[in-house]
């Protein structure tokens, strides 16, 4: 029971409590660069999940064989190998996705999250745990950049487009703030599509998370104070 609980934690923690982007603020380069459209953000998330899953798997399987001194070089080689695999696979099967992500597929090699998970988690834990951690981090990062991309695409383009990057699904354009049939009306703000919009959206998202955390902390403090006061009152009552 306890074992199962901890396995579940390993998987669930990176989704929310230790989210690699929103809480740890790692991997910000691709989070800003590929989030102009929801689809390419999801594609980036999938490639990232693939890389972090397999690098965690291999590194935790080899953790007892790799000598201590040369750990970091080994991690780099393993990660670079899987990034090369991802590059070849995506350029063959999803060329539109590969072209829209551009150089950021290669930059997965120097992604802080991949190297960080290898060093902090996979090098000290069992294969199954590391795989769960990899998938959890992948999904956590994917939903985080997908959320940013959703805001940026809706505000920046006024529409949501599907089928442009994943060509195997039919092409659909959903009008939200603009792009309606037979109408020029649009409330889209192109600044959110530009580079400045990425910084602003991520900054505001982090601020909202900080505000929620501050609120929670304050509530916990107040609850503790109330409990203390109640205990003191009870003690007084007991004395009387």
């Amino acid at each position: 029971m306890d074992q199962k609980q901890s396995k579940l934690r390993v998987f669930l923690d990176p989704l929310l409590k230790a989210n690699p982007l929103f809480v740890m603020v790692l991997g910000t380069c691709p989070a800003l660069a590929v989030t102009t459209s929801l689809e390419s953000a999801i594609g980036m998330g999938l490639l990232f999940t693939f890389v972090v899953f397999f690098s965690n798997l291999i590194i935790s399987a080899l953790r007892k064989i790799i000598p201590d001194e040369v750990r970091t070089p080994c991690y780099i080689v393993v990660i670079a190998t899987f990034v090369t695999v991802v590059k070849i696979l995506s350029s063959t099967f999803l060329p539109e996705l590969y072209n829209s992500l551009g150089v950021f597929v290669s930059l997965l090699v120097v992604n802080c999250i991949v190297l960080g998970r290898a060093e902090a988690f996979a090098s000290q834990n069992t294969v199954v745990d590391s795989m769960l951690d990899g998938v959890g981090n992948g999904i956590g990062y994917t939903w985080a950049i997908a959320a940013i991309a959703l805001v940026r695409e809706v505000l920046g383009a006024g529409t949501l487009t599907f089928g442009k990057v994943f060509t195997f699904i039919p092409k659909v354009t959903l009008p939200i703030l603009g792009g309606f049939k037979n109408s020029d009306f649009s409330m889209a703000m192109p600044v959110f599509k530009s580079s400045a919009g990425g910084f602003l959206v991520l900054g505001i998202a982090l601020a909202i998370i900080a505000a929620v955390n501050n609120h929670k902390e304050q509530k916990a403090k107040e609850a503790a104070r109330a409990a203390k006061a109640a205990a003191a009152a009870a003690a007084k009552g007991g004395n009387n």
Partner: protein
């Protein structure tokens, strides 16, 4: 050249680069920083503690541990 020839060249290049990388990595880690510039002690070292993108994290933690283990023994030797 045949397909296998290209594959052998590719493997040779990667192996050579990994060897160079590993040797230079070990050499870098094994060299102690100059006096007064140890990790966390330097004059403008707030960047050393930057938590993201720590490339040498593992090796440096090990080195710090070793230093801690060595210090008591050297003190004893002095006495």
């Amino acid at each position: 050249m045949s397909q296998t020839g290209y594959i052998i060249i590719a493997i040779a290049i990667v192996v050579a680069l990994v060897a160079i990388f590993t040797i230079s990595f070990v050499a870098y880690i094994k060299t102690p920083p100059p006096a007064g510039c140890e990790r966390g002690k330097g004059p403008n070292c707030e960047n050393c503690e930057q938590s993201s993108c720590r490339f040498y994290a593992y090796a440096e933690e090990r080195a710090a541990k070793k230093l801690k283990e060595e210090k008591p023994s050297t003190k004893k030797g002095n006495e």
